[in-house]
Symmetry: C2
DNA sequence: TTGGCAAATCAAAGCGCTTAGATATCTATT
DNA sequence: AATAGATATCTAAGCGCTTTGATTTGCCAA
């Protein structure tokens, strides 16, 4: 691992100046073909690999985009994906890992996948940084120093830290467009999604006593609750229960469900704010011996993989996760091209996916 | 997006030299507490974010690791994941994407996940670069210039390109340890895996006419074929057919299966080199109206998500994919600490997973 | 007080590249 | 053959940080 060759070495070997070496790689047409070949040959012979650090410094751009992949499952409010931190989730190597798709891929993972594919398609380097509750800010700042633009997930970064970073580089966020209104955003049609699944329960299944349940508060979830209430209202109904959102954590969600079971007056359906919530509900109901969908229907929102595999499989609203990631990259690059344009918002459609947990398919 | 503040600005504002600013961030104990606070305050006020390019240039290290996430499905030998390139795979936005887990997560995606988790756990920045058949070398070189160490998948980079890069930074590879013997490697116990699943077919299901089938050639697959033949030999049997590996592509695999069906003499079981191959086999058999596992058993190797979801679900050998990714990071960091140590090889265990396609569970 | 040592701070020299602007080399005209 | 105008190449000045070695400051013992 001897220090590698630099422009100087290549230049010397090719008998040209370092500028010509640089031009050969960055603006090949400025260089006569014969010279170019000589430089390329020298570079090849020497095993020259241009330093991105030096280039970045000289250009004032790193040439990479960043994704701050905050891991919600590392959040104290949930179990944890990391090894041995919470008993509720098996360590990753136990049974050689991820057998049930409960841990991966999640919502964020599919969005990340979209970010990656779009970056690669465009020949963009992508830095993925992972937060964890302890050193979020430090990690974030480190990433920010390495990239030309940053994509982040909702609620993963405090607004003030965000503002600081956004002063230096463009930032695009999923959802939360109300909160950080000066950033670019990718949002989905929560309204239509909740309306579709709620009306499905109402009209197809003839249910009338519905409740909304959600753990973590978020802008998306707020909108979903509102849409839920509006849909009921439009149907001349009201929520079967008071506000069960935001409960605050998976554990609190489970608690609410247990109380419901004990009370003996289950609603016809529990409309959950997210698939994650719905899985907790499903687990808790199963533990209480309640049959889904016979005794109560359950729906989610997001369309994560686990919802397909769990029994009963989860009726939900599928978000275009990959596309959301792609759109983030798009927005970032657009803004890099045109820093002064007003904040943009890409609003994407969602799709109803009916499976077993609402009573549609045979369990 | 005005050019951000630099050490100079922070130093001026805090009334110290730029060296002190740098020390404040990199070696805080060298700086008196009061000075440190002043610097931090100035940095905060100015919204200072250190430039990783400058740091990398000065230090000779970027502080990031790289993963060259070659996408096998973008390879001409397979269908493609990208939109509209091959008819065999729906465009990613069609139906809002990845409904059946056939496209994601694959083998490489789960390994990547392990790389990410381990990097984040250790506070390492991670650059994920994506190759595509057209510009592989360029992308690879670009990544190499950005990182201190690189993790790659088997057969994703020609050996000579690899050698060139390995001259500059440590490279760790999954599998293929025979081929690039001077690199660090993470391998799995192909021998035990194939032996376990083959013996399962032999002893539990009493099958005797087995064949091995695989598409793409690879070191792993070579070993699997050998292990298969040895296992049969040890049982006093021989392969039900000549070598059906490497066929070369998904299409060729399907062709072989179709011929088998037409010939009317199906073996008792088809032991596939990978899950990917097994899925193709399953599809092709289904199209030919052959029942699995009744008419013929099929097994895979890898343990990808799709194998859980497909009907019949796939009996396979599960690799510790996440752990493999984690080990790669481990090896890279170890070597960065100690460049002179001899090439290391982390060899990991696999596990038999019996599901429906071998006839174990009710289909 | 002063000398001596440790702790704190600083000055300055790069790190490897890009890119104006200057210079040299070619081409095409006259 | 001379010269304007391209074209090709080069010179040199950074880009923002780290880090060595020098210098200053602070503290304590003599």
């Amino acid at each position: 691992m001897a220090k590698g060759p630099t422009v100087y070495h290549v230049a010397e070997r090719a008998g040209v100046s370092i500028a010509t070496v640089s031009f050969t790689f960055r603006q090949p047409d400025k260089v006569k073909a014969s010279t170019r070949d000589a430089v390329l040959a020298a570079a090849e012979a020497l095993g020259y690999v241009p330093s991105a650090s030096a280039r970045g410094l000289a250009r004032g751009r790193t040439g990479a985009l960043g994704l701050f992949a905050y891991d919600y499952l590392l959040d104290p409010a949930h179990g944890r994906r990391e090894e041995g931190i919470a008993a509720s989730v098996p360590a990753p190597t136990e049974g050689l890992g991820n057998e049930d798709l409960r841990l991966f891929p999640l919502y964020v993972d599919e969005v990340q996948r979209g970010v990656e594919l779009e970056c690669w398609r465009r020949g963009q380097a992508l830095l993925v940084g992972g937060g964890n509750p302890e050193n979020n800010e430090a990690v974030l700042s480190d990433i920010a120093g390495r990239v030309d633009g940053l994509a982040i997930f909702p609620r993963s970064v405090p607004s003030e830290a965000l503002a600081r970073i956004a002063r230096r580089i463009p930032v695009v966020e999923v959802s939360e467009s109300d909160l950080n209104a000066d950033l670019d955003h990718v949002t989905v049609d929560n309204e239509s999604g909740i309306r579709a699944i709620t009306e499905h329960l109402l009209t197809v299944h003839g249910m009338t006593r519905l409740m909304f349940l959600g753990g973590m508060p978020s802008s998306d979830n707020d909108h979903r609750l509102q849409a839920f209430l509006r849909t009921l209202h439009d149907a001349g109904l009201s929520s079967a229960r008071g506000p069960n959102y935001p409960c605050g954590s998976d554990e609190r969600v489970a608690e609410v469900v247990r109380l419901l079971c004990q009370g003996g007056n289950l609603p016809d359906a529990i409309v959950c704010a997210t698939d994650q919530d719905a899985l907790v509900v499903l687990d808790t109901l199963a533990a209480a011996g309640v049959n889904v969908p016979k005794d109560v229907a359950v729906t989610g929102f997001d369309g994560i993989a686990a919802g397909r595999v769990v029994r009963p499989s989860l009726s939900t609203v599928r978000q275009p996760l990959e596309q959301m990631g792609r759109s983030m990259v798009q927005l970032l690059l657009d803004r890099l091209d045109n820093p002064e344009k007003p904040p943009a918002n890409v609003h994407l459609p969602v799709r109803l996916v009916v499976r077993e947990s609402c009573g549609c398919q045979a369990a």
